[in-house]
């Protein structure tokens, strides 16, 4: 008895696999798609080679002066020479290690929070959130422990952008959560207060808040008394963004089924414990995309402090382009600025996606 042996499967025809098939299916599936593809290719050909030529081929990387740069290409020498100022603003060069150390401490300090097996993570996290700002303030501002004082007016560049963004985030998130809870509260006074607060801050542009804080506020203060400009901006940013966070969080609270609230009550949990242990962990997880979206917007909105004469990254770039030695370098400056902003925002977005995956308890499936 002969056994029938199957012939091995033939590979699929070339037309249905590989790059060619993919292109046929996705790029040239119809006349219209083919036309669109060709048009897109033409646009790429039109835009990309000149950009590469400008940014790399014709660009000047070496040298120390404007005269070292060849006309026609980008002059990255400008970025190189002013790099310190873009990063630290007018922070005294010999004290810049303090900024570096502050950033290093932030990175080192947050690492344990990412270790899954870390015991007592919550206590550590809260301790970090209380201790770190004090350490950062002492390091950045100085004036105590024998450190030279560096007034906030000398802070600038990316340092200032990060300070505003991180303080804004750290301040707006808790305040926003409380506002969201307050808005759903059954106590009329609390509810009215929170609704008024949220609707007020959401109803005005951030630029107005900053402008008022720096132009109107000093007129109402006694002569000679002046608030720190940075502090004014920080308070404005926190209040403004907390209103947005509140609404995002409220969206999450509304998505939690009533059963969860009832279950928490049935367990004998009071309001705060029910919220803290049952409702908020679920609600916040749901609204991670919304919260990160707000944070990314906040990060980019920090550039609005240009209106009150603070030298964040964007304003430092602008400031460098008005130095007569480097006049006309604005394109290089803005391209560099855009890259930095993009890197930070993309990083935040990636982190939020990782967080979503890690916290995913698959309620959806």
């Amino acid at each position: 008895m002969s056994t029938h042996t199957f012939k091995p499967d033939l590979p699929p025809p070339n037309r249905s696999i590989g790059a060619w098939a993919w292109m046929r299916a996705n790029l040239f599936s119809s006349v219209f798609n083919t036309l669109l593809t060709l048009l897109a290719l033409y646009l790429v050909w039109l835009l990309v080679p000149p950009m590469i030529k400008w940014a790399f081929l014709d660009a000047t990387f070496r040298g120390t002066e404007r005269s070292d740069c060849t006309p026609g290409g980008a002059c990255w020498v400008f970025i190189k020479m002013r790099f310190g100022q873009f990063m630290y603003g007018f922070y005294p060069p010999e004290l810049r290690w303090r900024v570096d150390l502050t950033l290093l401490l932030a990175i080192v300090g947050t690492v344990p929070l990412f270790i899954k097996a870390m015991p007592r993570k919550a206590i550590y996290g809260i301790a970090f959130l209380i201790i770190y700002p004090v350490v950062a303030w002492v390091l950045l501002h100085g004036g105590v422990l024998g450190l030279d004082a560096v007034p906030t007016s000398r802070w600038g560049g990316l340092t200032l952008t990060l300070v505003i963004a991180s303080v804004g985030i750290a301040g707006a998130l808790p305040l926003g959560i409380f506002l969201a809870l307050g808005r759903r509260s059954e106590m009329p006074a609390v509810r009215v207060l929170c609704v008024t607060f949220i609707e007020f801050w959401r109803g005005i542009p951030l630029i107005t808040v900053l402008f008022m804080s720096s132009v109107m506020l000093p007129l109402f203060l006694p002569e000679g008394m002046s608030f720190d400009k940075l502090l004014r901006a920080l308070i404005g940013v926190i209040l403004f963004q907390s209103a947005y966070i509140a609404e995002v969080v409220r969206g999450g609270l509304q998505a939690i089924p009533k059963g969860q609230y009832e279950a928490a009550s049935a367990m004998g949990l009071g309001y705060w414990r029910a919220m803290g242990l049952v409702i908020l962990p679920q609600a916040l997880k749901l609204v991670i995309p919304g919260i990160v979206n707000t944070f990314i917007a906040l990060f980019k909105d920090t550039s609005l402090v240009i209106i009150i004469g603070l030298f964040d990254l964007l304003n430092s770039l602008h400031q460098a382009t008005v130095d007569p030695v480097w006049l006309g370098m604005s394109t290089e400056g803005y391209v560099f600025g855009a890259l930095i902003y993009w890197a930070f925002c993309f990083g935040m977005s990636q982190y939020s996606q990782r967080l979503e995956r890690r916290l995913d308890t698959s309620h959806r499936s």
């Binding site: 002013r82 007018f90 922070y91 007034p151 000398r154 203060l221 602008h318 400031q319 008005v322 006309g328």
Partner: protein, 342 residues
Amino acid sequence: MKMVKSTLAILTTAAVLGVSGFAHAGATLDAVKKKGFVQCGISDGLPGFSYAEAGGKYAGLDVDVCRAVAAAVFGDAEKVRYSPLTAKERFTALQSGEIDILSRNTTWTSSRDAGMGMNFIGVTYYDGVGFLVNKKLGVSSAKELDGATICIQAGTTTELNVSDYFRSNGMKYTPITYDRSDESAKSLEAGRCDVLTSDQSQLYAQRIKLANPDDYVVLPEVISKEPLGPAVRRGDDEWFAIAKWSLFAMIGAEELGVTSANVEEMAKNAKNPDVARLLGAEGNFGNDLKLPKDWAVKIVKQVGNYGEVFERNVGMGSALKIKRGLNAQWNNGGILYAPPVR
């Protein structure tokens, strides 16, 4: 220039509410001496007038005025702290006492001088709205600009001045308004407009931004008066006098030939009685100003006379290469004239 209506409104509100309190005479000098530095309001970046150098130090014509005041008060031009201010913030900052002196290319006008609680101490730069054109146009005078497309920077009185000028000369033009100076320079380069108009001092800066600056020329006409000067808060005459005479000392020193290089030598053996009085070798005129005897020596030594300051920041010694023009001494074709020290 850069007149902002809203500022007026804000200040009016402030005045009505009675919050724009005026300092008592002498209060500013005492406060400045107590805190140990002069708080100086400058622009948020204007080529040649105030900008940050690579090391993070501020430089420029406006900056040097503040340095001169610090040199007169403390004998040390470095005892200045700067507040970069936007055009909208500047008057509030002065009024509210945040700054001691506003040195931010501000045009001296009647409404600002009389209506805003501030006193202008003099003129540091005689500016005016001018035109930058491509040489290819073959235009040598603004009168030939009939029918031109003009790039204008928004938010300044330039628009008004250009409109007035063209109307009074019976010429037509098409305005294109830009928000930032970088855009208007690029626009001129791309040929979207024939002419770029702005304050003449800024046109020289705009010209450097172009790929081929030599193809463009600043027309000789200036169509408006823009005397730029520093200002102090109204109501403190003593501080007003100190700021005013710090500027006069720089201008006077140039007229008398006193420079940062020879000032100490001249202070020791001054033959000209005017020089001797200015530098404190004869009499003690600093006393009237509540300043040390050698106040002018310190200014000229550490900051320079007006001519040196001009050349270093905006003149031939700088990238801008602006000619002295109206800003030359009265005996040299300009209109700078400092009252004598005596």
